[in-house]
């Protein structure tokens, strides 16, 4: 423990294991590894209140984005609508459950979990809950954060309903609704949420027990 403490001024590059002396950086400056150009750290500016506001916005947008239809087509008088969830289940029902599951996780489940996870983290930090129970939850949430943010693919989904709209407009009339708007706004809220969030900064809130 004492040995580890003496290395406080030193960090290692996670890609190439180079030893680098950590020094204070001005804002808007990012430290890169001199050997392999991996981004190492930047000035942790992470406003907890800003994160809370973005979390609540995202949470409010999440319901209309997933309950209202994102796309609507009119073809020879018949109307078809779909939401992100229904589209995933439709593929699943037709026997392609791998595809259905991939779509469901990256467009619905992972974003929902990510919003809830960040909300819970923010509340734990803001309300200063330092009982072992809350601290262990905080630890688990931080550990899963990287995976969750990698699985969240809202930006790709937004592009994909534009691509589908163009493809379908070949033989039918395509309409966007409130669901499309909510989904796009949800994507924007999540984009800023993930930009504002700094995992390294969040780790610094963990109380070392030893």
């Amino acid at each position: 423990m004492s040995e580890a403490k003496s290395y406080k001024a030193v960090i290692l590059c996670r890609s190439c294991d180079l030893v680098i002396r950590k020094r204070a950086l001005p804002s808007n400056v990012r430290a890169l590894c001199p050997r392999c150009d991996t981004a190492l750290y930047d000035t942790p500016y992470c406003s907890i209140n800003g994160l809370l506001a973005l979390c609540i916005t995202a949470l409010l947008l999440f319901l209309p984005a997933n309950l209202l239809p994102v796309l609507e087509i009119h073809f020879l008088g018949s109307i078809r609508t779909t939401t992100a969830y229904e589209a995933a289940i439709e593929v699943w029902v037709q026997g392609y459950w791998v595809v259905g599951l991939a779509v469901l996780i990256s467009a619905v489940i992972a974003p929902a979990l990510l919003i809830l996870s960040v909300l819970l983290q923010v509340l734990i930090v803001k309300l200063n809950l330092c009982s072992p129970f809350w601290q262990s939850i905080f630890l688990q949430l931080l550990k899963k954060h990287g995976l969750l943010s990698q699985l969240t693919m809202l930006e790709i989904y937004v592009i994909s309903f534009l691509v589908s709209a163009f493809q379908l407009s070949d033989f039918s009339d395509v309409y966007f609704g409130m669901g499309t708007l909510s989904f796009t706004l949800l994507f924007i809220a999540m984009l800023f949420l993930q930009r504002e969030y700094n995992l390294e900064h969040m780790w610094s809130y963990v109380h070392d027990e030893q």
């Binding site: 423990m1 040995e3 580890a4 290395y7 030193v10 290692l12 996670r14 890609s15 190439c16 294991d17 180079l18 030893v19 680098i20 002396r21 950590k22 020094r23 808007n28 400056v29 990012r30 430290a31 890169l32 001199p34 050997r35 392999c36 150009d37 991996t38 796309l71 087509i73 073809f75 020879l76 609508t81 779909t82 589209a87 995933a88 439709e90 593929v91 037709q94 392609y96 791998v98 595809v99 991939a102 779509v103 467009a107 630890l139 550990k143 693919m153 790709i156 989904y157 994909s160 309903f161 691509v163 589908s164 163009f166 493809q167 379908l168 033989f171 780790w203 963990v206 070392d208 030893q210």
Partner: protein
Amino acid sequence: MMSNNQTRPANHNETSARTTLESLAPQGKKLGICLCPTCKKVNSLTLTHCIRCKTKLSTRNYASVQQSWALLITAIILLVLANVYPITLLTNRGVVTNDTIFSGIAHLIHTGMIPIAIIVFTASILVPWLKIIGLSLYLCAISFKIPISKRKMMIGFHIIEWIGRWSMLDLFVISLTVALVNMGQLLDAKPAPAATAFALVILLTQLSAKVLDTRLLWDRLETHNDTN
């Protein structure tokens, strides 16, 4: 080779600061410290678990090269299947047509939707192939000790990690199309076997890049020259 305290502009509004501690040792392994794989805290090698997040520590994961190879080879086989077999099945007024990834794009170009064709081509052909070629090069460089510029390899690796998820675009489009276009014999779209293969290609290549311990490439710093 590299200078201390050098700053240089990186992006539009960001500048990067560079500091090294060459006087001590190049690799953290020699100093007896290692980085926690989960929370990026510097730990002493005498510890077995990270002091902050209790993750198991290890200096290098030597098995990761084999794991990465295994995942990559499976992905290559599946990528061939994904390109050969049809990915969607379209029924238009009783006429059934099978579309592979490539014929779908050819159809888009034919109907004059060039920008959409470029997006789909990038997401479903260019990105998976680039990812597989890039990862194979990277793994070859580690396994067969090929003297390729490590720095360029690393930049390529970061691009692969970032760009890989965009392949999901095709699957999203398929799921939306299948859910919307279901009017029986008149007009009906269904997914076809290549969709599953394609989904697995994305999963396996992402895993292959994630599982690999990139520090293994840099351990051979002394044996090969590293300038650029």
